[in-house]
Every structure is written in structure tokens, then in C-alpha cells.
Symmetry: C2
Subunit: 834 residues, 2 copies
């Protein structure tokens, strides 16, 4: 089975799709202006992703029929967010739904973490993202019949996520069981410019005959949620987490203030409306503890349209008072109303225009990947744009997967993208980490270590991992954060950040490494008993990735401390301490298997038995759901790039020949049960010359959610994997590497991609790189001339574009993957040796 | 702090001891016959264990005052059991108590095992020993005032566990708040000859004036229990686990049948009475769902004594019907009543006389250890004598510690004692393991392994460990069971057992090892990612103990399969499979650290950082309660003998010099936070010549519970540690080793022990060895002449005793233990080098 990781046979259940049945004449007349959203492809020309409800288009993700089987997935795909507010792509009317979801960054509830056998230092409580007051609900009654796509006849239903407009558009025509037909169009946005605001433009018109229409716009707290399954990755549902403190109906709106029961966070939500109707409307406003409702009734004739603009605002705080939050929401609503719907749309587009100008990746020759890479960039922007000293969760604000927690995914996969496309957002995440330093220092003390031990998974900063071998023991997260600091400072020369935020993070993480490692009898600095990136190994000695990253962390802390001795002194850093960091870094033990001439992922790894891939059935992936950790940990089977990730981010520590051999060694044992793998494999595949394989991996990373490759997009999008699409394109096929002021490219394309263009921001410059099979063109879009490299040749890039030929790729046989775990082939030409 | 592991300062709380106040003249007159129990030491001469309520006597454990602070500990110490029924040493009247406890071997309830993050193969439910219907309750009303030692005046209170009589005797004189004085004496036994029966002889007499006395003898189900603390080692209390199916009052007794709610086990309990009173008595019998009660009222004058003999019987089954169990209990009561109290006492003593004749260990020069080693033997006998194809739990039937689970403790520590003292009991435990083979085979299949994977902890046979790195991963339990089979067969030549039970256990465990290990590129057979005996390490490669034991298991299976080809064929064993076992055993990888010239406990262990013992405070032991597993696992710190245990049980795999160096290496890093360590350390200390240190460890092992060294004797006795006392004496100072028909001794005494005598049963012989500083005397007490060894010299031991001189011990400097973790010194003479 070639693509066993994709949708398996069992999930091909009977579709409940409400098909597009014949439209009557009246409908035809009404549906002439469908081309509202972006690309205006005539309906007949639209290409669809195989096995997916979504069309292939460069700037939109379009769903042309409503498939109730994929509703939860599409809610994630169509989620809107600005990093502060997140709205899942639930239908306006709320029902049916996969998972209702309205989230505020860092609004969580506390739940106990139980253990069959407790242990010292185990976190006793966890944090879980909660579904806050839902402000996106707009229900419709058509002559007393509630609009519900499961009843009556759904003639057409289209949803479009427009990545340049920053909106989710919906257009449907529906006939009620009582034979009344309406057309409903709605456009939804979560403002990237007004952080506290979301807005919906909702339009309804009768088709064929006059109708009495009642629109109910609601704010609902404590919605009932479906029970999650037994999969540990699904967030625990929390029953009614919000306690009402205040609810007030005002003019055409409602303000509600609630408080979470245990975590004690206060959440204010408000809505206001602008009603535009050709006919008289009756408006009622009411509020109760968990429901605020504005009801608008009118009778419309065919050709008349009721237009409701709903403004929604949120505020939350752990400290501020109820009146303060109330006022904040009222103010946000007033600001949004003054901007108006068209104003919000314009601001949104302007914001995105600027983003795309500096971040877009153009890919010719693979339309699916073109769309998917933009989709990834769009969602990463949504997750990070306005997070503003709050975390970026593994799922952004698109679902409750992983309890809404933030992992190393953020620093190691999402921040590389933001650092070179929207660096301020990268800095903000690191400032959030700095804010949690007291908690990380306390955790280190609890573990008997100096410095700071950042949590493996968290919302607020406390360790929330309930399984320490794959949580606490994965200390590399500290080095990942330090690396993100060094990367950001290198990319921006942001000295203020370096002094105020970067140095403290570097120092406290370096101290941890110095305390965690020790010198052995041969004088090697060892880091024993930790867990590296690969979650199918744990508690191993001298994980190569960890040791290399710790080495970088130690040296980076030393360098930056020496650059800012005054700040370092405030942190009690002494020259002796700096010397101890350098010495540990210089003595860092990097194991190497002389027999096999490869780097073991961790010391002794290559002596372990190789997993029996031949006997593993396709439906036994992901392995962790079908085999005990015991067995996975003790064998050579890799869930996700680990040594290969080290070769990507610490490439300077390996010779080219080592990279070739290591990649060839690890490919046949890497199963990619994690979504944090394909993008990294793409980068190294491209570097060592496996360009077709790199293309396949780029596709897998970028299409994770559009193709629902891990069958859990319903729980939220895989931000790190989406970031992997950008990484594979820019750092893989673009060969981009940056470190210590040195910016290099080594572009090379696979056979099917005829043109790749991308932009990166670096040290105040914006550089565009356009790659074709024959040559690369470098352009300085913004900023002063700068020296860059092309396949090792260095030159100054000034106002004039520079063209360089692409050298041929080295040739090695394409390595094999475990049977059934090959990535789906994308290129037309098969690589030799395969 | 020299003995930091013992009772710390914090536990020296104010004693609530009800002191022995002045007795009035009448009391003096009444208390002349105190010398009822055994040793009759005049009260003034009695020596007490330091910091303990117990006296030092050769054959009894006596408590001369009631200390409510140590009530829970004394309930464990005074527990009576026959391996089928267990009664904690609760006071007759039930209150006050530390923990009420009446247990039946293998009667448990099921409880869920929760996980913060679930994983494949994690057991979802656990088994917990439950407190069954309490038949030992006898309450007394003295003129309407209930006897309760917390009120009124307790003039004297003595309890005596008599290890030759097999009884617990109690003698008290008490004046009620209303100034009425009684003397109460009770003697309790759990019959070693009538498995289903316990009995109590309860006598009460008024002192000084006539009194109305009411004795209430009860059967009580679902007693309320104290809540356990947060310590994971304390069993989870289960609220009211029993549901009544039947209760019936009959003549002077009651029969009750209950069923456990989830595990569905049916438990029948019954009581009957013989009343002997000089005055008329009124007797009432009643029963309700959870209480059966016989009430006896009479008026006695001073000098008159009411004597109540209470017979209690139990039966349980997962399958048999309510009437069948009812009848079984009635029959057991009838049998006991026919035997009568004096008859039961006589049977009990005869049983014990026979046991001691073949098992006693005599130690001159250390009275505390003399008593403690007998105490250990007595409780091991109690735990195993009538277990009869049921497990022997880590706490026997003396408390709820470890949920009543059985671990490798049984095969590795308890069975060596039983094998050479009461071999039939050892065979019965292994027959129980065989009965659970289908469950162990199912578990192996779940783990993807061939053969059988025995549970790390269980009551019924299912894995109940909720923390797999220290549970499932500790696969050595399979080899421990196999070793117990080989040991038993070697010691008994029991061919029927070998064919019917031993071979199947050997084959299924050998298959597991063959599947668990693999050959590496150098042709070494490796066993990776398992946990050895030391619980401060986990998931390591090539644990020396595990690999050596697996080697023995593989070879043993091959040998026995070849000896019984017909049985082997029934188990589908082929010559090819046998050859694969031998090849794996011959290729077994035993890591060795050439640099340090010692064996690493596991591969790479000696490269790890050494635990910072200097910075560890005395109150931070046991380390697992104060440091994360993460930190313990990655450093050189040993909870319990692991490599040292390998040197004991697989001594042939090490040269003498290696033993000396290894012992010197591991002593300074072994903290003995487990009670499964001191006995083993004693054996190797003695073997390599550290005789004083061996004496210290013998003391620590044997006195674990009498001195409450781990501060949790309240939860039950440490059977393995008690076994360690015998092991230290016989295999340490006696130097006894037996394997493949070869029986060797290498006796040598520490300075303070002037004479050691012990008996072992081997191949139908009973051999007595008497050791003095100068010589050893070997006597064949039973059986045919046999060749034995004395310090390497071999000779035939026939009817005439053989005397041999003791060679001087080799001299090495006494190794140091971690600061504060030295065992308490016992000998008068300090060893050189210390």
C-alpha cells in the first residue's frame, strides 16, 4: 500500500453529502453573482484535491459541497484567527457541527492529571484550552423553520477561505421542509488590525416568493461539546467551564462577562450589530447568564436582501476587574463599528498584501503544493500575527488538539518561518517565553537543576506533560528556544531584544545545560538520559541533536553575554561561568558509529535491533497506537526526523558525505508517524541531491491538513507541519541557510517544479529569490546591499539582480522508506535508483 | 547522621503510651500467672530493641506496653497467617486500630488505573487486596462500659507473638472509667494444619468485685478503613467492596456470604463458639447484611473466669456457588470445633516443631539478629505454608502495602528460603505461576513477544503495574521465575514437578528471551531497553543481571527440554529451537568496563555522572520521594543490589577479583532505599571478606520490620527483606551455594558472632552446619550420604559429623557507603580500613 498513512479504507464511510440537486428556474436567476470571492474560477473548471472536499486554487481554499463527514476537518481548515482570537469554521447557525470552537489565546481551565503510580515532580494539574463565549452564531428562521442543512434541500453550498482577503465566505441556497427557499451569504473575518475584534457580514434573501425571516444573532457561553475519544491527543472536554459574572443587553448588542472556575480567568465578550434592510425590521435584544441574543424579524420579497453586520469583541484577563473588561469590550466594539465592515475588510486586505509581499512563495508545476504552502503561511500568520507575548499553540487557535498546548514546535518549526517573514511575531513569542522564566526556573529547581527548564507542553508556562519520558526528559526544548533567540537576533540585529530578552533566555538555558551534562573520565561533556526529538526513543545518552543544540546554546550564551557585559552582570554571569560554558561546548560529546560510518541518533542507537517493518501492517501505523513504548524505544525505528533534523539545523557539524550516509541510513527506519518530520526530511533530501524525494516530502508537509494525512485535522491544524511546507520550499529547494550574518542559498529544483520564487527578510533587507531549473535570480527588494552566497560562491547583492546558474545535483540512489511509508510521489520523473 | 534511614527525628512524636501505673493489691494477686507465653523472662530482665516497643527474646516477640503510636506497626509484626488467611494483629475489641485487616489470599477488588497520558498496552485496571469479613472481633462490656484502652486506666498490657506455638497472646488489666477492673487474656491462632480456620481463646475475669460482663463476638463485613496517604506504596482503600448474598444465625454462630462488586469473588465467613462459664450465661445470636453477632452476658465474681473459644472459618471462590461455600465453611467450623482449642494448639506446635527442626538458624553473639532471623523465618512460613497454588505477596497477608501484589520478590528472595526449608511451599508458588501462564502468554502477545511475559505486579496474574518503565520493562521477572524452577528442581530432584510444571515455565520464559534479544553486528546477543533490579535505573541496554539470568533461563530450558523430550514435544519445542536458545545463551553480551575494570550494571552505566551524595540531605532519602526519576535514572546511584545481586545468584560468571572490585565500586553508590538490598549485600560482603559489613547488612535485612527501618511496616511486613536475613546468615556467613547437584559451603563469621548453626534441606537430606570462629561442623541429620564442599574442599558427608577449620578471610579495605547511608554497626570489632 503506497500511501498507508493517508485516509485508510475504514474512514471511507458513506458520505452524508447533501448533494447539489437540480435547481429550479428561480434559483438559477438568483445565483448569478457567485464570483464574489477572489479567483472566480468558473465552476466547471475547478480541480479538487484527491479525496478531499477542497479545490486546488492558488489563493483560496474552496469547498463546493457540504460534506458532513468532513465537517470537523473543514472547521479546522476554515478557522480564522489573529493569534488572539480563534474561530473555528463552524457554520453560522451552529448546527450541525464537528466541534464548536471559539478560543482566546491563553484562556484555559485547569484539570487534574491522574497517575496510576505517582512520582516526584509529576505535574498534578494540566491546562486545557476552553471553548469561550461563541460570538459567531447567527441563526435563521424561514417562516418559523430553522435553517439547518440536514433538513430540507440544500441546493448549493460553497465556502471559500480567501488568503488574500483574510475572510471566510459562505454562499448557500436552501429550501426548507416547508418549501421556502432562501439564499444566505456570509463573510467572516477575525481582524488582523483590530486585535479584539471579529466581524461577520450576513446576508439573506428570499427566493421565488416573499418570506418572513427572523435572524437571531447570539453570544453563547458554555456550549455543550462532543465527548472526545480515547485518543490521548484529543483534548479533554471540560463541562461548562464559565461562570457568569455579568450580562447586559444594550441597544443592538449584548455584553457578557464570565470567569473560569478553577483557573480564575475573566472573559468578556460583546456583540453589536448594524442592520440594513429594505423592509421594516423588529429588533429584540435579551440576555441571560449564558446566552445573549439579538433577534431581527422582517418580511422580504424576492430581490430584497437583509444585511446584518455583526461586530464581536473579546477581552480577558487574570487580573483586571469586571468593569475594566466590560469597558474594554465596549470600546473595541465602538472602534470596529466606526471602522465599519468595509473598513475592516480593507484593513484586512492591506495587512495581508503587506505580508504576502514579503512572504509569498510561488511554485509553478505543482498547483496543490502552491496552494498548500500559501495555506500554511496564511495559518501561521493567523496563529502568530497578534499573539503578542502569548504562545503559539501546536494547533494555533484552530482546535482543541493537544489541549491547546504549545510545544517545541513553535520555536523549531513555526518561528523559522516567522523570523524571515514577520520577525516581530517571532520576537513576541520569545518575549512570552521570557515572561514564563520564573516558572521555568522554579521547575528547574524542582528537578535539581540550575537555570531554567521550560515546559514540554503548556499554555501558561507550567509543565503540563503527564508522561515524563516524552515530556520533562525532552530537555532540548531549552536549546530550541535559545536557537530561536539566536536565529531572530541574527536575522534582525535587534540589539534591544538581545539585551532585554535574548540574553536572559540564553543564560538561563545555558545554565541548565551546564548543570545537566557532566564530564566523563575521557573529558567528554555528556548529556545522559534525555529524550531527543524522535518520540520513538526516550531516555538515551548523548542524543546528537540535543548535544549539538546544547553546544550552540552554550556558545550563544557566552557570545551574547560577552557582547553585553552590563546585562550579563545583572544576571550574575561571571567570566568563569562563561568559560565553563565554552569549555562544555568545546568538549561536547557527539557519538559516531565507526563501524557503520554514521552518526547514531543517540549513543548506542545503531546497535539496537531494527524494527520489523516487514511484519508491520499498514493499519498498525501510527505505531504508538499499536505497539508499546517499551518496544518502540528499544529498537531502531524513528517517528520523526531527529538525527536528520540535527543535520538541518546544525548542518555545519556534518560533512557532506556524512549527510549523505546518515540520510541513507535513517530513511529506511523513519516512519513519519509525526507531522514534524516530512519538512525536515525534504530539506536534507534536497541538500544531498534527492530532489524528487524532497518534492514528495514538501507535498506531505504542506498538504498535512488539506489532505488530512494524520486523520486528526478535525482537532486543529498542524502548525509545525504547515511551517514545514515553507521550510521545505525555502530551505530545501532554496537551500537557504543563515547564521552569524551569513546568508546562503543553494537552490535546486525537482523535475516537476518549473519555477520557485520566495522572499526572505534578513537584517532589514527583503530579498527575492527566483529559481528555475537553469538559474537562480537574486533581487534586493528592500534595504541596503548585502553579501549572500549561491552554492558556495559569495557576492554582494545590490540594486541590480544577480543571476547564477544551478549546478547539477550530486547523484546517489534514492533511499527506501519503510514498506508502506513512502511519501506519495509528486514528480513526473522518477529519480534514478528508486 | 549514621542511620538516617531509620526513624528520623520528625517521627519521634510524643508517645501516647498508656503507662503501667500502680496496680492495687487485688491486681497483684491476680497477675501471678503471666508466664504463659514461652520464654518466661522475668519482667525486669527483658531487653528491648532500641527505639522499638519489642523485647529481645530468642523465640518470642513481646510488647510489654501498648504504644498507640506504633499500633499499626505492631499490627503487622503480630499478624498471623497460614498463607490462606491473614489476620493483622488488631486488638480483639477492634478499636483503636492502625489498620483493620483480615485477608484471604487472592481475594481482591478491581480498580481503574488512570493515566494523564495513556499509551498502548497500559493496564487499564488494577487489583487491590481487600479487607474481608473480620472474624477476630471480640468486644467486651464491663457493666455497660465498653472496653477501650484509650479510656479508663490500663494497668498492664502485654502481647506476645510466640514463634514456636504459632500464637498471639494478649494479657491486659484495665479499669473502666466507672472504676470496674477486669483482666482479659486472649490467644489467637491461624491454623497451619486446618487451612480454613482461625481460632481465639478469650478469657475475662473481674478483679476486686463482682461484675456484669457482656462479651460480643462478631463477624463484620465492610469495616470502614482509614484513608491512605499520598504515598504510592500505600494501597488504595476501597470503600465497602462486599455485597451481602446471605447471612444466617445458627446456634452459637453466624454464617455470612458476600461477593465483591467488580471482581465477582464470593467470600464465605463463619464463626462458632464454645462458651465456658462458672456462672449462668445468656446468649443471643443475630445477623444482618454486614454484621453477625453472638452476645454472651453473665455476672462473675472475682476468681471466676469466662472463657470463650471462637472458631472462625473462611472460604472463597470465583466460581463455586453460594450454597457450596456456605457448606464449606460450616464443615470447616465443625472440624475445628471437633479438634477443639487445645487440639488446634497442639497441632500448631507440632507443625512448627517440625518446621524449626529443619529450618532453624541459631546465632550466638547477636541476640537481636537471632530473634529477627527467626521472626523472618516464621513470617515466611506463615506467608507460604498453606498458600497452595496461590501467590505469596510482597507483604504476605500482613497488610495492604503494594495493594497486596506479588512481585519478583517471591521467586528471588522468599523462594530461596522455602526451597531449602519447606520445599513443597516453593513448588506451590511456581504451580501458581504456571496456572497464570495463559495470562502471561496473552500479555506477551500484546507486547509483540513470543512466550510468556509475567506481570511485574499482580494478584490474579494480570499486569497491574501503572508505570511501565519500572513495571513491564523489568522483564527479569521471567528469568527469576525460571531460576526458582531450576533451584527447586536442583534442591529436590522432583522430576514430576519438572515435567508437569518446571519445563513449561522454562520454555515459555526462554521463548520470551529469545524474542526479546537480538544479535548485533558483532554477533553478540543483546537485550536492550529493559529495567534491571535497581529501580533507580530504567530502560537500559544489556543489564548484566538480566542478561546473565536470561542466559541461565535459556540454558535451563534447553537442558530440561532435552531431559524430557516427550513433554517438550507437547510444548512444540524442536531441536532447532533448543539450539537457538543455546546459541543465544552462548552469545549473550555481558558488558565490561575495561577502563575501570568493573562490570557496568548496564551498558554505559559507569560513564554516567555519579549522584551528588555530598549534597543530598539525610531527610531526602528515599530519593524517589525527593528527586525525579529523570535524575535518578541518568546517574550512578543504585537503589538496591543489581550488579551485586548478579554476583550472588550468578557468582560463577565473575572471578573473585572481579567480585572484590565490583563490590568496592558499587558500595559507595548504593543507597538501599529498597528493602531488597541489604541481604544481598551481606552475602557478597561476606564472600569477599568484609565480614563486619556483612554482619551490619544481615542486621539491617533481618530487623527491617522489628526496627521499622523503612517507616512503613504499618502497611505490612517486608517478606523479601525478612528472607534476606536467612539469606545473609546461610548464604552469607554460611557461604552456602547450590547448583546442579553441587552443594558448597564457605562459612566464616564476623567477630561478634560466636556461633552460627543452620539447617538446609537438599535432595532429601537435612544437613546441619554449625560454625564457630575456628571451625565448621557438618552433620547429616536425615538422608543418605552426600558430597559437599567446604571452602573448595569436597568430601562425602555421611553419618559421622565432619569438622573443618575456617580459613582466614581475605583482607580488603572496607568500602564506604554514601554518606549517611552506612548500615548500623553491629560488631564490637571495627574492620580494618574503615
Amino acid at each position: 500500500m503506497r500511501d498507508g498513512w493517508a485516509k485508510d479504507a475504514g474512514s471511507n464511510t458513506v458520505s452524508n453529502t447533501v448533494s447539489n440537486t437540480a435547481l429550479d428556474a428561480a434559483l438559477d436567476a438568483a445565483s448569478t453573482d457567485t464570483a464574489r470571492s477572489g479567483d472566480a474560477a468558473a465552476r466547471g473548471e475547478i480541480r479538487r484535491h484527491p479525496g478531499s472536499p477542497f479545490t486546488v486554487e492558488p489563493w483560496c481554499v474552496r469547498e463546493t459541497e457540504l460534506d458532513l463527514n468532513t465537517l470537523a476537518q473543514s472547521e479546522s481548515v476554515f478557522a480564522l484567527s489573529n493569534g488572539h482570537i480563534g474561530l473555528r469554521g463552524n457554520l453560522d447557525e451552529g448546527d450541525p457541527h464537528g466541534l464548536p470552537g471559539t478560543y482566546l489565546n491563553s484562556v484555559y481551565e485547569i484539570r487534574p492529571l491522574p497517575y496510576a503510580e505517582a512520582g516526584y515532580g509529576y505535574p498534578e494539574s494540566g491546562q486545557t484550552i476552553i471553548n469561550v463565549t461563541n460570538g459567531k452564531l447567527i441563526r435563521l428562521l424561514v417562516d418559523d423553520e430553522p435553517l439547518d442543512v440536514r433538513y430540507g434541500t440544500l441546493h448549493s453550498h460553497e465556502r471559500v477561505l480567501d488568503m488574500r482577503a483574510g475572510t471566510l465566505f459562505r454562499d448557500m441556497t436552501w429550501t426548507s421542509p416547508a418549501d421556502d427557499t432562501v439564499r444566505v451569504r456570509s463573510t467572516r473575518l477575525v481582524s488582523l488590525t483590530q486585535r479584539a475584534v471579529a466581524a461577520i457580514c450576513y446576508e439573506v434573501e428570499p427566493i421565488g416568493k416573499p418570506l418572513r425571516l427572523v435572524v437571531q444573532s447570539a453570544l453563547v457561553a458554555n456550549e455543550s461539546l462532543p465527548q472526545p475519544g480515547k485518543d490521548p491527543r484529543v483534548a479533554a472536554a471540560l463541562e461548562s467551564p464559565l461562570v457568569c459574572e455579568e450580562h447586559v443587553a444594550r441597544r443592538a448588542g449584548v455584553i457578557m462577562v464570565h470567569r473560569t472556575k478553577v483557573s480564575g480567568l475573566r472573559v468578556a465578550a460583546g456583540m453589536d450589530h448594524v442592520i440594513d434592510s429594505p423592509a421594516p425590521t423588529a429588533v429584540e435584544v435579551e440576555s441571560t447568564e449564558d446566552v445573549g441574543r439579538v433577534t431581527i424579524a422582517c418580511v422580504l420579497r424576492p430581490g430584497e436582501r437583509l444585511r446584518l453586520v455583526k461586530f464581536v469583541a473579546y477581552g480577558w484577563s487574570s487580573q483586571r476587574s469586571r468593569p475594566a473588561l466590560h469597558d474594554q469590550v465596549v470600546a473595541a466594539l465602538a472602534g470596529a463599528k466606526r471602522t465599519g465592515w468595509e473598513g475592516l475588510l480593507a484593513e484586512q486586505r492591506a495587512f495581508l498584501d503587506e505580508f504576502w509581499a514579503g512572504a509569498d512563495v510561488e511554485i509553478e508545476g505543482d498547483d496543490e503544493v502552491q496552494q498548500a504552502v500559501r495555506f500554511g503561511l496564511f495559518h501561521i500568520l493567523q496563529a502568530g500575527a497578534r499573539a503578542e507575548r502569548r504562545p503559539i499553540a501546536a494547533k494555533g487557535l484552530t482546535g482543541t488538539g493537544y489541549d491547546g498546548h504549545t510545544f517545541w514546535d513553535t520555536e523549531s518549526f513555526v518561528l523559522p518561518v516567522l523570523t524571515y517573514t514577520r520577525p516581530s511575531a517571532a520576537a513576541d513569542v520569545l518575549r512570552w517565553r521570557q515572561m514564563t522564566l520564573p516558572l521555568a526556573a522554579e521547575r528547574a529547581r524542582q528537578l535539581g537543576l540550575p537555570g531554567a527548564a521550560f515546559p514540554w507542553r503548556t499554555i501558561r508556562g507550567q509543565e503540563c506533560s503527564g508522561y515524563w519520558p516524552a515530556g520533562t526528559a525532552a530537555f532540548h526544548i531549552g536549546a530550541d528556544i535559545a536557537d530561536a533567540v539566536l536565529r531572530y537576533v541574527d536575522a534582525t540585529e535587534d540589539v534591544r531584544f538581545e539585551r532585554e530578552t535574548g540574553l536572559e533566555l540564553l543564560v538561563q538555558t545555558a545554565r541548565l545545560w551546564r548543570g545537566l551534562g557532566h564530564y566523563d573520565a575521557q573529558g567528554r561533556f555528556r548529556i545522559d538520559g534525555v529524550t531527543g526529538p524522535d518520540e520513538y526513543s526516550a531516555l538515551a545518552d548523548n542524543n546528537v541533536y540535543t548535544n549539538l543544540m546544547a553546544q550552540r546554546n552554550l556558545r550563544g550564551a557566552a557570545d551574547v553575554a560577552e557582547r553585553h557585559p552590563d546585562v550579563a552582570a545583572d544576571l550574575d554571569v561571571t567570566p568563569t561561568e562563561i568559560e565553563s560554558w565554552r569549555q562544555a561546548a568545546d568538549s561536547m560529546y557527539i557519538p559516531y558509529d565507526e563501524l557503520r560510518q554514521v552518526h547514531p541518533q543517540s549513543e548506542g542507537f545503531t546497535d539496537h535491533a531494527v524494527w520489523d517493518f516487514e511484519q508491520t501492517k499498514p493499519d498498525q501505523y501510527p505505531l504508538l497506537l499499536n505497539f508499546p513504548y517499551f518496544d518502540l524505544y528499544r529498537k531502531q525505528v524513528v517517528k520523526q526526523a531527529d538525527l536528520v533534523l540535527a543535520m538541518h539545523v546544525c548542518g555545519e557539524a556534518f560533512t557532506f558525505e556524512q549527510k549523505v550516509r546518515n540520510f541513507a541510513y535513517y530513511e529506511p527506519i523513519t516512519v513519519r508517524d509525526s507531522s514534524l518530520s516530512a519538512g525536515t526530511q525534504a530539506v536534507i533530501a534536497a541538500e544531498v541531491g534527492h530532489l524528487e524525494l524532497a518534492h514528495d516530502y514538501l507535498g506531505e508537509a504542506a498538504l498535512t491538513d488539506l489532505h488530512d494525512l494524520h486523520r486528526n485535522t478535525r482537532d486543529g491544524l498542524h502548525m509545525a507541519s504547515l511551517a514545514g511546507g515553507w521550510i521545505a520550499a525555502v530551505q530545501g529547494f532554496g537551500g537557504m541557510r543563515a547564521s552569524r550574518g551569513r546568508l546562503d542559498f543553494a537552490p535546486r529544483l525537482p523535475s516537476a517544479i518549473t519555477r520557485l520564487a520566495f522572499r526572505v527578510r534578513y537584517r532589514g533587507r527583503l530579498i527575492r529569490v527566483t529559481v528555475t531549473p537553469q538559474e537562480a535570480v537574486y533581487e534586493l527588494v528592500e534595504g541596503e546591499p548585502y553579501e549572500i552566497g549561491h552554492h558556495g560562491e559569495r557576492f554582494i547583492l545590490g540594486p541590480r539582480e544577480v543571476r547564477r546558474p544551478i549546478p547539477p545535483a550530486p547523484h546517489h540512489p534514492r533511499p527506501a522508506q519503510p514498506p508502506g511509508r513512502e511519501p506519495r510521489r509528486r514528480g513526473a520523473v522518477q529519480e534514478a535508483g528508486s
